[in-house]
Structure formats: C-alpha cells, structure tokens
C-alpha cells in the first residue's frame, strides 16, 4: 500500500513535470536564471563530496536492513 502510494506520488510528479515541460504550460519558471545566486552556492549542493557521502552510505547499509533512495540531483546555478 505504502509502495503504491510512493510510486503514485512520483508518477504524478513526472506527469506534472512533463506537462510543464511541454509548450502548452501556462506556468513560467518562477526562478529566473539571473536569480539563482544562492542555488549556485556549493553549500546548496545536495552532495558536495560524493567520495565521502558514498562511503558513509556504505557504512550504514552494511549495518542496517534498509538501503537505497539516498541520492539526489539538480539545483545548482542553472548555467548553460
């Protein structure tokens, strides 16, 4: 039940993203590229030092029953 819910939420997210991406969206990006100063700061990165975060994830996964869903992408300066 939980899993179907999770899957549903993500599916909804993707469909929304797809709609927003297509030309027929009435919503404009609400953060302009020239407003991304804070988001471009390295401290706002979800994962600044992959070598370190992957190691820590490993330490926990080998001692716990749970695994997965630890990473994230995106944010950043929006340059190029």
């Amino acid at each position: 039940m939980r899993r179907i819910l999770l899957g549903g939420v993500l599916l909804g997210g993707f469909l929304l993203g797809g709609t927003l991406m297509s030309g027929c969206s009435p919503i404009q990006p609400w953060v302009k590229p020239y407003e991304r100063e804070h988001l471009a700061d390295p401290i706002m990165s979800f994962d600044r030092n992959p070598i370190s975060s992957v190691y820590l994830d490993h330490v926990f996964e080998t001692r716990e029953g749970a695994r997965g869903a630890t990473g994230s992408v995106g944010g950043g300066c929006g340059c190029n």
Binding site: R3, I4, G7, L10, L11, F14, L15, G17, G18, T19, M21, S22, G23, K32, P33, Y34, E35, R36, E37, A40, D41, C77, G78, C79, N80
Partner: protein, 173 residues
Amino acid sequence: MTTGTLKVSALLLGAALTAGLAAAPPLPAASVTAGAPAAAFQLPAAVGDPVSLADLKGQVVLINFWASWCGPCRQEMPILDQLYKKYKAAGFTLLGVNVEPKSGDALAFLKGTPVSFPILFDTQSKVSTLYEVSGMPSTVIVDRKGNVRYVHHGYKAGDEGEYLDQIRSLMRE
C-alpha cells in the same frame, strides 16, 4: 510489492518521462526576437557615467549578461575582453551587464580578473527582464541600426568563434 507490480511501475514511470520528453519543445528559441529593435535602457557603470544603449547606435554592440557566481560566465570574461580589444577601434563595443542585486562579489571578481570593456549593473533586474534572459550567461548581438541580430544562451569553450563570425558579418554591413 510483487515483482510484477514493480516492473509495471517502472514501465509506467519510464513511459511518463518519455511522454513528457516527447511533448517538450526543442531547446528554447531566442527569447528576444532576431530582427526586432533592441530594447532601450540606461544603466550605471562601474567606471564613469551611466551608459545608454541609444548612444551606441552606429556601432555593433555585444551585450553579455553575467554573474560572478556563474562558472561559465567567469570563464567567458577574459575571452570577451580579447574580442573587445581587437575590434573596438573598428566600431564594435561590448557591454558586460552584471545581473546581481548586490555588486560586491562582482567587483571583487573584476579586481582579480580585470576587463577593459564597460561593466554595467542591473541590480533591479529590469534589463534582464526586458531582454528575457533565460540562461546564464546570455549574449545578445545588436547591429549598427540598433536591431537584435543574434542571441546566445550559455557558454562553452569555442563559442567565441561563433561570436567572431557574427560580429565580423555585422561590421561589414
């Protein structure tokens, strides 16, 4: 969750993404129309009096929207400086419009990487909005008559070759 449900979910997610991508338009077209007159503006400069675009009619103008927090923008600055130095005597000018609300970081960057072309400060984002800046950095090339001719979004090494060709062709007009 059974294997079957998992695989169906994965397929559904993949399908949703593909549908979204297929419906997406190609990379954004120039948000400022080529051929239309470049919007007039006047901005304070780092050195000297405020600069107005109208005063530069008769010259080929390259307007570069940049920020000190943007990596490709910083990379581009010395290259734009070279371009400016080479052609300024021949009726070309370059305006570096800084889009940051506070100019401290921009000035600090310029101290370490000085450039000879005029730097303007668009602290209220008025000109960024006028020119519908949709990527960082953005470059707009305006001809001698004051019309927008070329628009570039983003910068990667080698783009200056295109700028060069476009500037040269506009200067020959």
